[in-house]
Symmetry: D3
Subunit: 246 residues, 6 copies
């Protein structure tokens, strides 16, 4: 066989700084999110997990989402002063993404964006399993925005409030059941978890139901890392130029 | 400001093996492709650049593409025996992607797939700049398949045969001009280069025209690396299960 | 001819209260917006024009838009206390629309939403003429959200900053020219003006170029008035229920 | 709070003439339709309910619809001679809409068009509840034409012939049940009633099931009234110019 | 080479009756249409060219189209009594297609439908070249209805009134020029002629510009012939069942 | 009634040569396919049924499909030397269609393409009933490619391996049941059989369930025959020009 192998070992070593921003104000969630990001970051990547300075303790409505954005943008501005190379917005509604891209020099990625793109590489389609039914419309809207609606075969709610994911011992079982049902009903190939608070239980669900399960926090972390490595960032000559000074 | 930084340095060290397969039989292209993949791979990632064992010297038609697939699939099977963790198909038509996913245990990514997804994170839309006009229909078709048609604002041909990219000294200038025109005509944010043979000139074009330019070979390399790091691979319980034995 | 006329004169008289909220903090714009709303409101309709309590003086970026939302929502809450029957969000980006619908008992309509729907009744398609090129992506996104992308044949920018519409004497001529060009290039039937600041010049443009021109402020005012008259309001049993208390 | 209220009371008084045309020949339906239109018309609006001079007694097939159009167009021509300012086509298939727009100087609105647009302002999506299953395809087609397919989450048939709506005492209960089921199955926010003959029972259904229910006759009446108030009418410089004389 | 040829010669001989209906009342057009249908019909197929009994002399507006339908449906009913096996509606707006399908036992095909489907088999996309600009919207609408909008790359008008096609000696040159331009501007593979009155000049245009040109009359004739041969006709268990008797 | 019949009998007599290529290597399937093609071919049409010279014995995966293409293309080249006027690719995945169109002078049609187009003329929508669930994704993808996704209301699998269709006596009953279920669940008008191996049982299923059932082999045969009769073939000035020589 005429294979011509060219073997080599990458040697990128400069430190790459990623800020993972939790846009709600619950610090225990930030801790968990930071742990997930760190678990997949490459050598040479520094993860800074940040709790939004102002906003709601959890994001479970359009109102919560809207009220979280100014704090998130403040964190982005802080990151710019601190030399961050890229950002993860760690809430599945991807709040403030467009505005954050205007402010940041480096790439900014939402966890819904990253998770959906990632799942699209794993088969014909995915199901989203999320917390409250009232957020499913937003998930479907994001799928469309990212071009992922053709892969998004269903959005399923567990009716677990976000903060109960940390404290309710039955939460993992309920989410796992919802994932199993979703695969069957939607005839989907993989699961996208629709809440940053589910990042911790991603691997155990995948092992239990035997299909790929995607957590947006880790997916977004490696995606930002990849973009920075490629030297790519938000285009700055048009829509996402720095906002006009007022 | 109530920022709660959690600093940490990733320490993933197990070797991760990516095969980058050139589905045409021109070894000088394989060398260039391998160089580009190596330049973005992380420490601990081993790149194996592979020339397809049988097929056409370049892929410039549907016929060439179809004839390249059996050789590509042979290379995938060889990779499975050699313990490859994931694969890049280094031709912008992403030939044989579905079949390769059936054969491989790990993820398989086409360079059009990777480049288009990557560009979608950089702004509202991208333009594809490719070699021959007769391949533009296929590029548009792939954009649709990946859900990237809403970001793909135009496909532009330079009318340079694939192998001339290496030998024709004016090629770089022609491609650069086409990129500049595409940004203006399509009002796009970034460029996707539509041929593996353009990987080498990606950075210089970006510097010259001042907008992000995405090369699929490097984009696919870091994408496969990310998927393997996340423990994700093609779902094997449905459409992409191993093909039935005959 | 077997026509059976049933003639009658409507007699609805209860006062109907519409708050028209300018989400930027420039009061002269509020005054102009209020004048346009009042000009089309029916007898028995009371118009309250409101300037957002906090936010940017004009909305010309995703950042401005995001920063305008908390003030807008504060105004909605004030309206709820004051017995408003419905709301107009008087900025063409329709900022905060989903969150406002969660807060309000009555209908909430954005001016882009109203203008695009209105124009869709006038022919096969419309062109949007707006201020800055960097806002055209957002206009296209809204057209898609409202199902109006099939009618939206083009989005054209005049590169006039929002506040210059009031002060720059050439603004009207520039906008008029852009409208005339848009009709020709897009082969469209009507024009949608893409900024609340253009409400004042709507009629004169229509007369000058001889095609229907739609201003969102007046279109949204009569739309809210119609919904209240029909006894219709945002559905409150699902996605748009009042946000969970924190 | 820096709210700047500008209170004013609209004073539009000129009489505005709307013809509501029933394109079938059953006069009792015309009477009911006229009553619904009158109930929502503003002071100063004169409603003329018109029975089509020729055509079928009810419209329950593509054939019926086609045969109703010449009579409808005759009524439009009569309206033009009588000084009508705008028209409602009071059949949920919106028969003859394009041709009517060519003939009329003022706006012409179909009740499916008005009802679907109206429902789209009330939440993420609506369900249509109609008479016979054989008409559901047409309803879906209209949803697409108006850009409302993204909001139209389902079309449900009651299998009640149109004229039985007036005479069959169980009809209201059957339609109400179908509405309740539709909301649940489609996870929709509101109901669109898919027949002019259902206008009378709109409010009672809404009260009974506790969600917004939209009747097209009243929705179209206020929509035409709004368009006339805004000074807007079908664009006459292109597709909808008066038809060439023969 | 392991080719296994099985040669045979078809022997279908029963007479197959196709009615080709001109929905306008100009008999010279019927004669031309009949000639084109006859030229492609197989041995054993009998073509009956029919002039609509009532309606406009040419169809150049939505109004003309609507007024042509009752006469067309009368012709279909006559065909049913005479034992027709299938029908062609020979006007590019495909007027009355749904209603005709309810009435007829055998298949009914519009010439726009047939021409667009046919052209979709010849390459990536086609351009439509038609008579008056005011009909282009309708052509685009039909392309969408038939799923052919992804192939329809442009609709171009010649501004030649329908009946002038027969009498204006420059018509052929104008149409040919428009075809040549369309291929270049749209980068299309083939041309669809957008008027039954252009059937006669189809072949000469194709020879002159060197690309495939599709005439709907002949395309629809062989399509109906194929459907009857396959034993296929409009499904009669749902939407297209015979219309309810009144 | 002013009907003007022009009766005539077609007299096309030149022999028209269609190659029907079975891209798998099972000759008994070729025999059955040839029989079906011959049953619908017109007098003067010569059918040559061809077994692919190399490839898998049945096509049940993306891998099988990819491996069948070189043999199929070899058969097309042989057909070109033998004077074939057009080709049918007799496998429901339509493998190698684009490449075959580059090689052939005459039209090339896949059986999925033909069957879906054909079914679209019979009502509002069709269901596909196919063999293995793992092929349903491909069927949906083809529906989209051909613009037929708006008509394709569902894809249903019987889980019968392709070659068992010939040998398993229960196969016909299972497929028939699946068709009956599909019509009900999808509310569809007709059935498209999703495998060349089902051609033989098409008519009996249609008779049993009373709805139109479309077999792709016969549909493609008459479609190629029609295209050749019309003098139409793949456009050769762009994407489908002969492939560049290597």
């Amino acid at each position: 066989m005429r294979i011509t192998p060219i073997r080599c070992l990458g040697a990128r070593l400069a430190v790459l700084r990623i800020w993972v921003i939790n846009p709600n104000t619950t610090e225990s969630m930030t801790t968990a999110i930071g742990r997930c990001a760190r678990a997949v970051a490459g050598p040479g990547t520094e993860i800074t997990a940040v709790t939004s300075p102002i906003g709601p303790p959890s994001i479970e409505s359009h109102y919560d989402e809207a009220m979280s954005v100014p704090g998130l943008l403040q964190a982005i501005e802080q990151g710019e002063h601190s030399g961050a190379d890229g950002y993860v917005i760690a809430c599945f509604g991807d709040p403030g993404l467009d505005a954050a891209r205007e402010l940041a020099r480096g790439p900014v990625i939402g966890i819904a964006e990253a998770a959906m793109h990632t799942a699209s590489h794993l088969g014909r389609g995915f199901s989203v399993v999320t917390t409250l039914a009232r957020t499913t419309g937003r998930a479907a809207e994001l799928a469309e925005r990212y071009g992922m609606d053709r892969f998004c075969l269903g959005v399923h709610a567990c009716e677990i409030p976000v903060l109960d994911l940390e404290t309710d011992s039955r939460a993992r079982a309920i989410v796992t059941d919802a994932c199993r049902t979703a695969i069957k009903v939607d005839r989907s190939d993989s699961i996208v978890l629709g809440c940053a608070g589910m990042a911790d239980i991603c691997h155990s669900i995948s092992e239990e139901i035997g299909v790929p399960v995607v957590d947006g926090v880790s997916a977004a972390t490696v995606l930002v890392q990849s973009l920075v490595t490629l030297g790519l960032r938000t285009a700055k000559h048009g829509e996402y130029a720095s906002p006009p000074k007022k």
